[in-house]
């Protein structure tokens, strides 16, 4: 397995060879920040393009075709347009909060994005309570959405924001429980450590039935967490026109739009990391030749392949199911997912205590 820390360490050494350590760390931080932002933007563009093509394929259509070969640079055109579109400020809106909201959403999204271990040695934020930090960071997004709905001075926005508040806070619980199930199995909160533990088999396979149940719960709750159909109530096109971002135009709307897609990727990335081994190649204990062959495929390829597979799964959900109603969403969460998640956690504890897992 190629370890990226060799490169990063080398860069670090080069930098401290001609500047003080403090400055070197500062330069590295800036560079990494820029890299993350860039990757964030590129991923958003890839995701939007993928969404359009995937939904077109489900709907017997072609999707974007004219701009660039097979429409590949369609999204760039959208970005250019979005960047120079007028940003409307609304009378009677709370101007400060109104302008702040999209940035909170994007900030939360970038913070949790930087927690994802992409390859061995390519972890930006990696410390012993990594998962905990990520869950905390991603929940800041709710504040942004609530603010957006509240400050817009629009009744649709307000209803959308209230819906999203109820929905996202509820589903945070299920996400936490399903991740906790795996944490019990690994006894660590550090993301890189979690990935390392999956060297002899992904947790989805190692963790018996509880891990699988946790995976399903995680997919459902994760989908709800990023407000995508069938849980897209906060923006429910046919009910609330555009939900919490009804009044946003131009790039402010663009930020919401981008955050939605990258959040989807983050959810998929976490699922890939926790349940499907992150950048860890597919290893089957006992088949050494096979394992070695798998190791030749670089880790980030594994990571992105797994993440995009899950993204594709979630898109499949979105384009197949009708939307739920608000009471049904809450019923699903509080009456089904949370109890199942709790029992599942207990089951996992029993399995771990009696060492029944592989």
């Amino acid at each position: 397995m190629f370890d990226f820390s060799i490169i990063t360490n080398w860069i670090h050494e080069q930098l401290i060879s001609f500047m003080p350590t403090g400055l070197a760390v500062f330069v590295e931080c800036v560079a990494i920040g820029i890299c993350i932002m860039l990757m964030y933007a590129v991923l958003a563009i890839i995701m939007i393009f993928m969404e359009r093509k995937v939904c077109a394929a489900f709907q017997c259509r072609l999707g974007p075709m004219r701009v660039g070969p097979y429409g590949t640079i369609q999204v760039f055109a959208d970005v250019f347009k979005m960047l120079i579109k007028e940003i409307i400020t609304i009378n009677h809106a709370d101007k400060f909060l109104y302008n702040l909201a999209p940035y909170i959403v994007i900030l939360a999204s970038i913070m949790s994005f930087s927690c994802l271990p992409i390859n061995k040695g390519l972890e930006v934020l990696d410390f012993n309570v990594g998962i905990f930090f990520m869950l905390a960071a991603s929940s800041i997004g709710i504040v942004g959405i609530l603010l957006a709905g509240w400050s817009s001075n629009n009744k649709y926005s307000l209803i959308g924001a209230m819906r999203s508040g109820a929905q996202m806070i509820s589903y945070e619980l299920s996400i936490g429980l399903s991740i906790l199930t795996i944490v019990v199995l690994t006894d660590t909160l550090q993301l890189s450590e979690i990935v390392e533990r999956q060297a002899d088999g992904w947790f989805l396979f190692k963790g018996h039935i509880p891990a699988f149940i946790a995976f399903v719960i995680y997919l459902i709750a994760g989908n709800a967490e990023v407000n995508r159909g069938p849980f897209d109530l906060p923006e429910a096109e046919s009910e609330l026109t555009a939900g919490y971002h009804t009044e946003y135009s131009g790039m402010h709307f663009g930020l919401f739009y981008v955050a939605e897609f990258v959040n989807l990727f983050i959810i998929a990335g976490i699922a890939a990391t926790i349940f499907l081994g992150g950048w860890m190649p597919l290893h089957i204990p006992g088949l050494d030749g096979f394992n070695q062959a798998m190791d030749y495929i670089p880790g980030f390829v594994w990571f992105f392949a797994k993440a995009f597979f899950i993204v594709w799964l979630l898109m499949w959900f979105k384009w197949t199911f009708p939307r739920l109603r608000i009471d049904q969403i809450l019923t699903l969460e509080w009456k089904y997912l949370v109890p199942i998640g709790l029992v599942n956690l207990l089951l996992m504890v029993i399995i771990v205590v009696f060492k029944l897992h592989f």
């Binding site: 004219r66 701009v67 579109k85």
Partner: protein, 196 residues
């Protein structure tokens, strides 16, 4: 002066019927000249704008069904990048006035247009939106949406076929490709009165 020709993929310039009008428009826009680098930037911006015209989901009658048909599988305007139909006027670039506009609807339509963020375009779809169509003599029908909004493209028909709608949208793309973001004046409406 050489006219900048808008390029539309797989349709040659000569195949369009309204080229004189476009050329005249370019000449008017370029009357004062402009800087080369600004022109290049303009091209980039116009490329973005013209390929990403998001329509507002707005329809009043029959033409709206054809508008939906254009979005559906057989005609699929997603190919041109039109598919992100936004329900909120703030996020839309283009309003397709599909259907009859009545006296009661006119102020609502005007408000919708005002709510859209610049740059915004209007396409009048079908006989009713162009002139009142079969209901021209009615007491409650606005004879042509251009009495209320500045219209960019007219698509005749009752209702226009989906192909006609696509053609109309491509015409709008051509028009957008010639606009000037820097230097030129694109205002289609009169200068609004200063708010009191």
């Amino acid at each position: 002066m050489e006219i900048k020709k808008p390029h539309i993929k797989s349709i040659p310039y000569e195949d369009f019927k309204n080229n004189e009008y476009l050329e005249q428009m370019v000449q008017e826009l370029n009357a004062n000249g402009g800087k080369v680098w600004l022109g290049c930037l303009d091209d980039l911006i116009n490329w973005g704008r013209s390929n990403s015209l998001w329509p507002l989901t707005f329809a009043t009658s029959c033409c709206g069904i054809e508008f939906m048909a254009v979005g559906a599988a057989r005609y699929d305007f997603a190919r041109f990048g039109f598919e992100v139909a936004r329900a909120s006027p703030r996020q839309a670039d283009l309003i397709m006035v599909a259907g009859t506009i009545t006296h009661k609807m006119a102020p609502v339509l005007k408000r919708l247009y005002d709510q859209m963020a610049d740059p915004k375009y209007v396409i009048a779809v079908g006989g009713c939106a162009i002139s009142g169509g079969p209901f021209k003599k009615s007491y409650h029908v606005v004879n042509g949406v251009d009495r209320i909004l500045p219209v960019d493209v007219y698509i005749p028909g009752c209702p226009p076929r989906p192909e006609a709608l696509l053609y109309g949208m491509i015409q709008l793309q051509r028009k957008v490709k010639l606009e000037k973001f820097f230097g030129g004046v694109n205002r289609k409406e009169e200068e609004p009165q200063k708010a009191k």
